[in-house]
Structures are given as structure tokens and as C-alpha cells.
């Protein structure tokens, strides 16, 4: 279940369908991407989607981070949820890659999450968030 | 025989299950027989050991001798730095490993 959500709009009610099912039927508004799904397959449909759930069956499998960034880079504005083996120490990276809601299999301590998100004031590189990378702070 | 081994969480020291507690000396290790997994889970759950696992060993007059050379090096210390092992003054220690 969704434990942390960084959006102000309503949580979507519709259950998510698989990518294959979505590409077959046209009226779903929520899709679930497995690690080996190609996020770019959704690019033509982004304005119809309110929720994309990216599965993390194992925390070590980092393909979902690329999927997330690709979707945000393509202009996706809906909810982007990380689901599965999501540990508190990954939340900050996931936020930077564009995830704005989290459904971890094992419950996370909200204080720990808050701490994880506020540990670093500065970042070195661009990602899908609005953080200004250090090189830009240096050179304006 | 089967020995239960692991590390002290805070210090990282190699430790051996003695039957009632944990010792850094493999001579104190006891044969856990069929009960190794159960003891392992209990001790790990109570956080008295980190990263525990079970190894094979043979009983000798000097105490248990791990079957594999890697475990013997782990029990005593690096063969190339006898001064850093648990038995720096023992000239026979190297032979025990190899």
C-alpha cells in the first residue's frame, strides 16, 4: 500500500494493468511496469495516464530508476510510484529520479524517510527533480 | 563435525559458538551437529552474532580444525603476517593452517 506520497492531487482509484494489457486496451489510466518493460512504450500515451507504478521486485535491480527518469523526461506529470522492495535508503535516489509515491513491501519509518530526504542539501548532477546541481550553483 | 561461526557486529571479530556463548578462539568451538541452523537463527535473532554460517571441521587433539584452508586462515589470521594472528608466538600455527 502507498505509504508516502508527495502529490497534492487525489490518489488514483483504478488498479494498474500490465504494459502488455495497456497496449492492448486503450482506456486504462494506470499501468504497472516490470523491470524489463520498456518505459518508452508509454510515451505516446502519457497524457492519458494518471498513475504509472514501477515494480522493484528486488532493491538491487535498478532498472526502475531509468524507467522513472525516462518517463519524466518525456513529460509525464502523473503519479509515478515505486512499488516493492523499496528501502528507506533508496527513497532519496528515487525521488530524484521522479518518483512521487512509494508502496514499499515492508513498512518504512516515516521519521527515517524524512531524514533520508533531508540529508543532502546539494547534488552534483541533474536528474528528474528540480534540484539545481552544484556545477550550476557554481556558475550561475 | 559442524561448527557455527560468525562475526561480532561491532568489532567485526571472527567468533565461534562454544555451546553457550561466542568465543574468538576456534579451540573453544563446539560441534553443533544437526542443531546448527536452529542455534544460528536464535543467536542471530538475539543479535549476539552477525552474518553466521556453518562450516565443516574435524576433531583433533588440539581442538576443532576447520576442513577448508580458507576457514583455517579465518580462524587464526593471515599466514603472511603471523604477528597479526591470534597466535603470534606459536611457530606451529602456520602448519596448523596449511
Amino acid at each position: 500500500m502507498v505509504e508516502f506520497r508527495y502529490r497534492t492531487d487525489e490518489v488514483t482509484e483504478q488498479p494498474s494493468v500490465t504494459l502488455d494489457a495497456f497496449l492492448d486496451q486503450s482506456n486504462a489510466t494506470a499501468v504497472r511496469l516490470e523491470p524489463d518493460d520498456d518505459a518508452r512504450a508509454l510515451i505516446p500515451f502519457l497524457d492519458r495516464l494518471t498513475l504509472i507504478e514501477v515494480a522493484f521486485p528486488k532493491y538491487r535491480d535498478g532498472r526502475g530508476y531509468s524507467s522513472a527518469r525516462i518517463l519524466r523526461e518525456a513529460g509525464y506529470k502523473g503519479e509515478l510510484r515505486a512499488q516493492g522492495d523499496v528501502l528507506v535508503d533508496q527513497i532519496a535516489f528515487m525521488r530524484r529520479c521522479g518518483f512521487d509515491s512509494f508502496a514499499p513491501e515492508a513498512s518504512l519509518n516515516p521519521d527515517a524517510v524524512q531524514k533520508a530526504l533531508s540529508t543532502y542539501d546539494h547534488v552534483y548532477q541533474n536528474a528528474a527533480d528540480s534540484a539545481v546541481p552544484i556545477w550550476k550553483l557554481r556558475h550561475g | 563435525m559442524k561448527l557455527l561461526t560468525g562475526n561480532e557486529l561491532g568489532s567485526g571479530a571472527v567468533t565461534w559458538w562454544t555451546g553457550s556463548s561466542w568465543s574468538i578462539h576456534v579451540e573453544d568451538a563446539t560441534d553443533v551437529g544437526e542443531h546448527g541452523e536452529a542455534i544460528l537463527h536464535a543467536e542471530e535473532g538475539a543479535r549476539r552474532v552477525n552474518a553466521p554460517y556453518i562450516i565443516d571441521a574435524i576433531a583433533t587433539p588440539e581442538g576443532p580444525r576447520p576442513a577448508h584452508i580458507k576457514d583455517r586462515i579465518r580462524a587464526l589470521g593471515p599466514t603472511v603476517r603471523p604477528d597479526l594472528t591470534l597466535k603470534p608466538a606459536d611457530p606451529a600455527a602456520g602448519d596448523w593452517i596449511i
Binding site: 546539494h122 547534488v123 | 562475526n7 557486529l9 561491532g10 571472527v14 580458507k70
Partner: protein, 542 residues
């Protein structure tokens, strides 16, 4: 060399605080070892054969005396009074306590050092040429590029859970002193129409399936570099194999889909990534480059006085030409005969720090051959430097000779190992202890790995030794013909393995065959390449 600004310092300070918190949670039992393991690995802390082992990053192998002294202090205070310099230009401590690790990292952070991303499936230390800024053949100092990449790769949110570890090397000379072609990404700085750019190689590596990186792009401009590398990494993160750790490096992906297809995918991704504006302006590379400006060399023509014969021998073997008149590059061998390759005591580390501060514009380098370099020594100071090294048992004149062995820690230290590597190195060095004999054999790069992970780079050895476990007993395979230089090649196994004494005898027989067959100035490697394996095989196996 690069100096942190307040942003850089803030990042390492925050990292120390974060790790301290993670360690506290682990010790209090709030997180399990399974949950803690990836966190401590991303901070270079392994649970190794004897204890926790910490790998401290030395970015592109460059450090100053203050940092070197801190490494000595760490060895004394937190470890057993020595450190081990590695084949990726880092340093390892083998006896660290978890409960003291955050304090250790805090002390490191006070001198702009850290252990970030020295382990784990993320982008590791960017390595480079140990003669950078001093070698006459470089077209530019590669280290500003390495520093740019270091910052870009630090806590990269998309690339922290890659299929496997990722190693990048940057060089800028036709002579490859960093084994660049055997890295996941190798960059060679080149000039095109007056502009500086990088030739990009992707898919090299050693380990179970050694491969030489093919060229993926002949020229990437400086202000396209990070976008291009980002594209390379994204293709890998998305499509690298994840089921089998022996098939998960990028070399497997490039090999399986082919360099052409990989190049095509990267080009497509690059075209997209380039639109995101992630490349810093050239001003950032210029800002970093300013830290690598040449030191204030003096006008000096003095040559060293060669009258001390021991000094002369060391001068001829370990000291290399510098691009600046009157200066030289000093190589400090951490390979004493019978000693442990790459190890240095805290006292020795302090000596090297002092010598660097006094005689080398306060700079040192760590080489991937596990030695140390003083890059900028005035020739008139060479004798004083040599005396200081000699008194600290750091003056072995064996650079690139057979006793200048690269050896991984092996089964004496490493839980991944199948066999001990250090005793083999010790026995070989002792067998060939006579320096005249070594010099007669000439350049002979011998490299030993205690397991297939090849941290000793045995595939790249003129003579390579691989330790294996044969039914519970240590056994050693011999390879010939590898090279990590610009004449890169992967060594071939010569035949059945040997026990410890057997492999030392076999190496000796191989050198005898070489001496019989060599022509002109041929090195062992050249003779082997010319005559092939047969003569060696006959002599060794009879």
C-alpha cells in the same frame, strides 16, 4: 590538485552523518545485515575474511602530504599500523571496527577524503595515469576530466543500482599507463581541430571473461562528455544482464549485442539526453583544470651525482623523465623482496608524505601496480629523496622488473579467494632477489590473482598467475602474454596448474627459455609473442 569548495565538503560531511546514522541503526538492531549490506558497501566497508575491511578512495590516485599523513594516522588509530594500496589506486584497511567507522570517516572528511562508492554496483573510483601532469607524452592532464566524472558519478540517483560495479579510467597519452582498455569505460583524451575531446572505449574488463574495450566513439567533445557517458550508463542500466554476477558487467552486454549495436543505442540515447542540459559549461572544466596547473618549477639544469652506486642503480630503474627540464618522476616501490606487495606501514606512509611535501610540490600518486609516485622531483634533490626512501626500506630499485609484482590480497585476506597469492609473490621475489639477474631479465610484469575475479590483473600480466581451488587444495595456473599497456592483450593459460613451489619453478624455467631465445632488446613479452608458447611449454612440462 583539486581542492574542495564548500559544496564538495558539504557532500562528504553529509555522507559521514548519514553513514553514522545507518551504523547506529544497524548496531541498535533496527536494520538487518541484509538491509545494511548494500549501504555499507556503497561506503566501501566489506565484511571480509578477518574483520571489516574499509576501502578508502584516492581519486585518480592523487593525494597530498596532509592526506597521506591522515592515511598513516588511520592505520595507527583504527587498524594495525599498515595499509594496502590497491590495483585501483585506492587504499585498504583490513581490521576496521564497525563501531569506529563513522569516526574514521569523519577524520577522513576533514582532509577531503572519503570511501564513497568504493564498493557496490555503482560507479567506482575513476582511475588515471600516475604520471599525469608530469609525463612529456600527454596531450593534456587527464585528471580534470576524471574529477568532472567523479563529481557527476557521486550519488548518481539513476546509476546506484547497476547490474554490477562500473570502473572508468582516463588517460591522455599514447602510452597507456592505466590499463585503460581493460575498464568498463576507458577514455583517451585526443585533439581534433584544436579542440580537446575524448576517444571513448566501452566494454573492457578482466575477471572471468577478460575483454578489451572496443572503441565506441572516436571523439566526444568536452561539453558533450557527461551526456554521452550518461547515455552509455543508461543503456547498460536498462539492458545489462542481471541474473548472473559473472555475466553482469557491461563487457558482456557490448559483446553480446555487438559494439555496433551498442554504439547505435548509445547514440540514440545521447541524442535524447543531450536535450536535457546536464552538461556543465566549459567553465566548470576550466575551474577544475586550474587546480591542476603545473607547479612553480624552478629553472634548474642540475643533474644528480651518480657516484653512489646504489643510488645510480635506483636512479636508472625507478626514476623516469619529466616534461620539465631539471625535474624527474620518482617511483617508490612497495615491493620489497619477500614483503607483501602494496603494503606500507604507517611509518613508511609518513616518510613518503614528508618527502612529497619537501621534494615533490606536496603531491603523491598511487599507481595501479600498487606503487607510489612522487611526480615532480628536482633532479638535484633525487639523492636526498633516495636516502630518505632507503632509510625507510622504500628504495627497492625494481620498478617493472620481475619482483615488482602486482598481487591481490588473496586467501590470506579475502573471502572471495580460492588460493593465497602473497606467499607466491614472496617466493618468486625471493627466487629472483638478485638485482643484476632481474635487470638482465628486464621489464617483466608479473601479476597474481587469488581467484577468477582477477583483482591482481593477472590477465594483463606478461606472466600471470591465477590461484584456483582444486579439490580443497590451492593450485596455480600460469598465463603468458598479457599486457595492460597500449599493446593491450589478454594472457593465455599455458597448461595444467602447479602447486605453490611448482609455479615458482615454472616461472623460473620460463625466464630461462626467454634468455635463450631473446633477440636484441626484446622483453619477455616480445619474445613470447614472437616465438609462441611451444618452447616455453616444452621447458616447463618436459
Amino acid at each position: 590538485m583539486y581542492k574542495y569548495d564548500h559544496y564538495d565538503q558539504a557532500v562528504v560531511d553529509a555522507r559521514v552523518a548519514e553513514f553514522r546514522d545507518q551504523v547506529n541503526r544497524r548496531i541498535a538492531g533496527e536494520i538487518t545485515e541484509d538491509q545494511f549490506k548494500p549501504l555499507r558497501l556503497m561506503n566501501g566497508l566489506y565484511l571480509q575474511l578477518h574483520a571489516y575491511m574499509l576501502r578508502v578512495a584516492i581519486p585518480y590516485g592523487t593525494l597530498d602530504s596532509r592526506q597521506m599523513r591522515m592515511l598513516a594516522h588511520i592505520a595507527r588509530k583504527y587498524d594495525r599500523d599498515y595499509g594496502h594500496f590497491t590495483t585501483r589506486q585506492n587504499i585498504q584497511y583490513n581490521w576496521i571496527k564497525l563501531e569506529e567507522c563513522a569516526d574514521l570517516l569523519e577524520e577522513l572528511a576533514s582532509v577531503e577524503m572519503h570511501a564513497i562508492q568504493t564498493s557496490g554496483n555503482c560507479i567506482r573510483n575513476i582511475s588515471s595515469d600516475q604520471y599525469a601532469g608530469a609525463a612529456a607524452d600527454e596531450i593534456a592532464d587527464p585528471r580534470p576530466w576524471a574529477e568532472l566524472l567523479r563529481q557527476w558519478s557521486t550519488f548518481h540517483p539513476e546509476f546506484s543500482y547497476l547490474p554490477r560495479k562500473f570502473k572508468i579510467a582516463v588517460v591522455a597519452s599514447p602510452e597507456d599507463r592505466a590499463a585503460m582498455r581493460l575498464h568498463d569505460i576507458g577514455l583517451e583524451l585526443v585533439r581534433q581541430d584544436g579542440a580537446l575531446g575524448a576517444r571513448v572505449f566501452v566494454g573492457g574488463g578482466m575477471g572471468r571473461t577478460p575483454m578489451i574495450a572496443p572503441e565506441i566513439n572516436p571523439f566526444v567533445k568536452a561539453d558533450d562528455l557527461l551526456s554521452y557517458i550518461e547515455a552509455c550508463l543508461r543503456v547498460y542500466n536498462r539492458y545489462g544482464r542481471r541474473g548472473n554476477i559473472y555475466k553482469a558487467r557491461i563487457k558482456i552486454l557490448v559483446h553480446e549485442i555487438g559494439a555496433d549495436e551498442y554504439r547505435r543505442q548509445v547514440a540514440e540515447e545521447f541524442a535524447h539526453v543531450k536535450t536535457l542540459g546536464i552538461d556543465p559549461p566549459l567553465a566548470e572544466l576550466e575551474r577544475i583544470s586550474a587546480f591542476f596547473a603545473p607547479p612553480a618549477f624552478e629553472a634548474t639544469q642540475a643533474e644528480p651525482d651518480r657516484s653512489d652506486p646504489d643510488f645510480a642503480v635506483w636512479l636508472d630503474q625507478n626514476v623516469k623523465p619529466h616534461k620539465q627540464v631539471g625535474y624527474a618522476i620518482v617511483n617508490i616501490s612497495l615491493k620489497p623482496i619477500g614483503g607483501i606487495p602494496g603494503d606500507a606501514t604507517s611509518a613508511q606512509i609518513d616518510v613518503m608524505a614528508d618527502l612529497a611535501e619537501t621534494y615533490s610540490f606536496d603531491e603523491l600518486r598511487v599507481t595501479h601496480a600498487q606503487n607510489i609516485v612522487l611526480p615532480h622531483v628536482a633532479k638535484r634533490d633525487l639523492y636526498a629523496v633516495w636516502q630518505g626512501l632507503r632509510d625507510a626500506e622504500l628504495a627497492n630499485a625494481n620498478l617493472d622488473l620481475i619482483s615488482d609484482i602486482i598481487a591481490c590480497p588473496g586467501l590470506d585476506y579475502c573471502s572471495l579467494a580460492n588460493a593465497r597469492s602473497i606467499p607466491v609473490a614472496q617466493k618468486i621475489a625471493t627466487r629472483f632477489a638478485d638485482l643484476d639477474r632481474q635487470r638482465d631479465l628486464g621489464e617483466l610484469k608479473l601479476k597474481i590473482s587469488g581467484c577468477i575475479n582477477a583483482c591482481g590483473h593477472h590477465h594483463a600480466g606478461h606472466i600471470g598467475i591465477l590461484g584456483v581451488d582444486r579439490k580443497g587444495v590451492e593450485n596455480y595456473q600460469l598465463t603468458f602474454g598479457g599486457s595492460g599497456a597500449e599493446d593491450v592483450s589478454i594472457g593465455k593459460i599455458i597448461g595444467p596448474g602447479f602447486d605453490e613451489d611448482g609455479v615458482v619453478d615454472a616461472v623460473e624455467k620460463a625466464t630461462e627459455v626467454y634468455k635463450t631465445l631473446r633477440e636484441g632488446n626484446e622483453r619477455f613479452l616480445d619474445t613470447y609473442r614472437r616465438v609462441g608458447l611451444e618452447p616455453f611449454k616444452e621447458a616447463i612440462y618436459g
